[in-house]
């Protein structure tokens, strides 16, 4: 009976993925990179390997020319904790962090030439942690100071993921101003969301470090990091504890969460279900018996032929074809709908106002 009860509360996932996104660039947004790297650090410590983490950092703080301590990114003032470490694997860096790439990672519509480390190869038994941080507003999150992603697009992307069963359960954490607006529009099942502030509130940063000269972390992520430092792979701490992290007295903003789309009770969801990678194991009790004396097997399948020709660069662009190609005739379509109506209106008003008899002066 105990076993059955255990089974009921357990999540059915077999692997874990994490997508960690920092969307701001420029030196004074140091704290966003530090936020993302501290979550990255916790997630790696609790067991998710780099091959299952997609880390997107919009700017390079560790090697930024303004960094007085190069090759480090600190999260505590007085430089207590260097979250950059020596084992960071950034998958999307600098200008590669765009809304388009982020949505491509989530939905899987990636050009075939993309390397494996830049892909989210999750399946229907994957629990995915998505953490986003940066500057945001009511219903949008700013990427790279030049574009935004809206909450509708994000919700649609998650729905595309659900349609293709690219996740078993999803935990979405966002640390921006008015973060709760980003999860308002979700409608796919099995999503749990946490945000650092409600609509209308700003998320505040934590402490500045006078030596480095910028704010090092945001409050919400700072306290989440403190919480996660207590977790080890065998912890039984559940999500309800994560919801209590950073009350208004510490955070100034009111963190929010959304669990109505999630099927299990948050009390029975372990932190390590999303932040760690605790695998299900079964003892192997069967063996098969092999005949040891069998001679070397002649495989019936054709083996790969060894290359005997000298290798040469493959023709990547059919240059000869491109140079001699004529420009393709684009079919002309008459303007439709709105534009046609607008022009008709303008022309009619023009001739009515100025009179037909003036036409000969114009043409």
């Amino acid at each position: 009976f105990q076993d059955q009860a255990e089974q009921f509360f357990r999540s059915g996932h077999t692997n874990n993925w994490a997508v960690l996104v920092c969307t701001s660039r420029f030196w004074f947004n140091y704290r966003h990179v530090a936020n993302t790297l501290s979550v990255y650090r916790s997630v790696k410590r609790l067991g998710i390997p780099d091959s299952h983490i997609v880390l997107m950092l919009a700017d390079d703080m560790a090697c930024n020319p303004r960094n007085p301590k190069p090759a480090t990114v600190f999260s505590h003032k007085n430089m207590e904790l260097n979250v950059y470490g020596d084992d960071v694997e950034v998958d999307y860096r600098s200008y590669e962090v765009t809304v388009e790439n982020f949505l491509r990672v989530l939905t899987g519509r990636i050009p075939p030439s993309t390397s494996r480390s830049k892909r989210l190869l999750s399946d229907d038994r994957s629990n995915i942690l998505i953490y986003m941080t940066g500057h945001g507003g009511n219903g949008f999150l700013k990427f790279q100071d030049s574009e935004e992603i809206t909450n509708v697009e994000l919700a649609d992307a998650f729905e595309q993921m659900w349609q293709k069963r690219r996740y078993n359960e999803l935990l979405f954490i966002i640390d921006t101003c008015q973060g709760a607006s980003m999860y308002e529009r979700f409608y796919s099942p099995n999503i749990m969301a946490l945000a650092s502030s409600q609509v209308g509130e700003d998320s505040l940063s934590h402490q500045p470090d006078l030596g480095i000269g910028v704010h090092l972390m945001d409050r919400y992520t700072f306290y989440v990091l403190e919480f996660l430092e207590e977790i080890h792979p065998a912890s039984q701490t559940n999500m309800n504890d994560l919801f209590q992290v950073c009350p208004k007295s510490l955070c100034v903003s009111t963190p929010g969460h959304r669990t109505d789309l999630f099927q299990r009770d948050p009390r029975s969801v372990l932190i390590t279900d999303f932040f760690g990678s605790v695998r299900k194991v079964e003892i192997t009790t069967e063996t098969i018996s092999l005949d040891r004396d069998v001679a070397g097997f002649e495989s019936k399948l054709p083996k790969d032929e060894l290359a005997t020709e000298p290798l040469k660069y493959a023709e990547q662009l059919p240059v000869a074809q491109i140079i001699h190609q004529k420009p393709k005739q684009k079919d002309w379509h008459p303007p439709g709908g709105f534009i046609l109506g607008l022009w008709a209106l303008i022309i009619m008003v023009f001739f009515k106002t100025y009179g037909i008899k003036h036409m000969k002066h114009i043409f």
Binding site: G12, E100, D124, P233
Partner: protein, 499 residues
């Protein structure tokens, strides 16, 4: 989710030896019959399985084959006389007193696609036995429901029902030798020979299902994440069952699976414990050491602990040379491979005797089981993918579908329909090939990079862009329009002065 009606037809021939024909046959031999069963997966998906039975007498050559000394020899001889098509089954009913089947065993399942059933109990009992047998050799309601697991309402299948590997076009198998203590053990494993001898036969058989590629590596100074406890009673080190889930993670980062292909990777690790932690045994939940000293994780792979005996005298020079017994290791790894694919032999009724597959690794009927499940899963996936693509197009009205995406969609639909048709007529091989083509096409269409919805303007953004542009321009136009309308009205009221 899209609705789907599957029809699975299994051609089944039942051959009676002369002395085993039951007295209460409904019609004289040979005659045809059909047994149908419905599996309701959800409201809109049903699977109807239809066993097309052909009852006949054995031919003279089959009788000669059945005269063999053991069931195994009979099976081997009968294999040559059978219908070789995938998915079909042949059952031979032998006399009740036949010595082919041992005592207490009434059904013998061979390595290929045939079984021997002991006669007795009349026709009804035979039909019940046949029903049991076909469940074992082709598919069960659970295996089909597990294949269609995304359609089953949550809660009906336990969380463990979906732990088998999903149908994929290829799999990558990696064998890794972990040696945390190279100073004490110089471990040699002839993996290439072992793969050629033991692994290649099973992969050749599975090549029908998917493309397999195999690689191997040796990792030094790779430790397990857990420190084993020392047990005084057995003077050995023990890894308890609940610490096993934490063993894999520290190693995984070093396995290099990120450099591997895009196909699912199956890792098989052989761990040679350090001198200071030898011998190391894995404990199961009850505290007893596991005989195989191995465990596996669904959809990931397996780990086996290989203990090296302590050197005879304490003065033997280190490092000890260790030649790994690859046959013993492969017996466990291949068993784990079978379990990962969902081919287990556990739930058999007691009077069934199943022949071990030997070096081929899996019996033909096990391959059929895999193919039935994978075909159904592939077709269901195609249907869901294309439906969701259609829903995406509905939502974003101005999406542009390129010609190649359109042709992939047409091809996927045609292949899926052909697969369903072949399933309904019992041609498992062509059904599976068609379903594979359908999945390839539908995945290519769905994941085409041009279908990103970001590239198509939502309507509210169109307004947001055009209004600031056109509104100021529209003000004089609208005012002039108003003036025109007023003039026209005035013109109507006062007729023009006519001189």
């Amino acid at each position: 989710a899209a609705s789907a009606q599957f029809q699975l037809a299994v051609p089944l021939a039942v051959a009676f030896t002369p002395r085993s024909v039951p007295g209460d046959l409904p019609r004289p031999l040979p005659f045809r019959d059909a047994q149908e069963m419905d599996i309701a997966v959800n409201q809109r998906t049903t699977v109807r399985s239809r066993y097309e039975l052909l009852y006949r007498s054995t031919t003279a050559r089959e009788d000669a084959a059945l005269d063999a000394a053991t069931a195994r020899d009979a099976d081997a001889a009968l294999h040559l006389l059978q219908d070789p098509s995938l998915g079909s089954l042949t059952v031979y009913v032998v006399p009740e007193t036949s010595s082919l089947l041992p005592q207490g065993i009434s059904v013998y399942v061979g390595q290929h696609r045939s079984a021997l059933v002991r006669a007795g109990g009349g026709f009804a009992a035979l039909r019940a036995r046949l029903a049991q047998l076909t469940q074992v050799m082709s598919f069960t309601a659970t295996s089909i429901a597990a294949a269609l697991s995304d359609r089953v309402p949550d809660g009906q299948l336990g969380p463990d029902a979906r732990r088998h590997l999903k149908s994929s076009l290829g799999y990558e198998i990696t064998f890794s030798l972990l040696n945390p203590d190279p100073k004490s053990h110089a471990v040699d494993w002839d993996i290439e020979d072992a793969v050629n001898r033991y692994v290649q036969p099973i992969l050749d058989k599975l090549s029908l299902v998917a493309n397999f590629s195999v690689d191997s590596q040796i990792l030094y100074y790779a430790v397990l994440g857990v420190t084993p406890r020392f047990d005084k009673a057995s003077s050995s080190f023990l890894l308890s069952a609940h610490s096993l889930p934490h063993v894999i993670n520290p190693v995984e980062a070093r396995l290099g699976s990120s450099a591997a292909s895009l196909y699912p990777v199956l890792n098989f690790l052989l761990y040679v414990p350090e001198r200071s932690h030898s011998p190391l045994y894995i404990q199961d939940k009850d505290g007893a050491p596991v005989s195989t000293n191995a465990f596996h994780s669904p959809r990931w792979g397996g780990i086996m602990v290989y203990n090296v005996e302590a050197p005879a005298s304490p003065h033997t020079s280190l490092p000890l040379h260790v030649d790994v017994d690859m046959a013993r290791v492969m017996e466990v790894f291949l068993a784990q491979l079978r379990l990962l694919f969902g081919l287990s032999r556990e739930e058999l009724p007691p009077e069934f005797l199943v022949e071990s597959p030997g070096n081929e690794g899996l019996a033909d009927w096990e391959l059929d089981r895999l193919l039935w499940a994978h075909t159904v899963e592939n077709i269901a996936t195609v249907s869901t993918t294309l439906t969701s693509l259609a829903q995406l197009l509905d939502k974003i009205g101005n999406i542009v579908i390129k010609d190649d995406v359109a042709s992939e969609v047409y091809q996927a639909v045609a292949s899926a329909q052909s697969a369903m048709a072949e399933l309904a007529t019992g041609h498992l091989h062509s059904a599976f090939q068609a379903s594979k083509e359908a999945v390839t096409s539908s995945e290519r269409a769905f994941f085409d990079p041009s279908l990103l919805h970001l590239l198509y303007f939502p309507d509210d953004q169109k307004f947001a862009i055009y209004i600031p542009l056109f509104l100021p321009m529209a003000v004089p136009i609208l005012l002039s329009l108003a003036k025109m309308v007023r003039e026209a009205r005035q013109h109507k009221k006062e007729p023009t002065k006519m001189d």
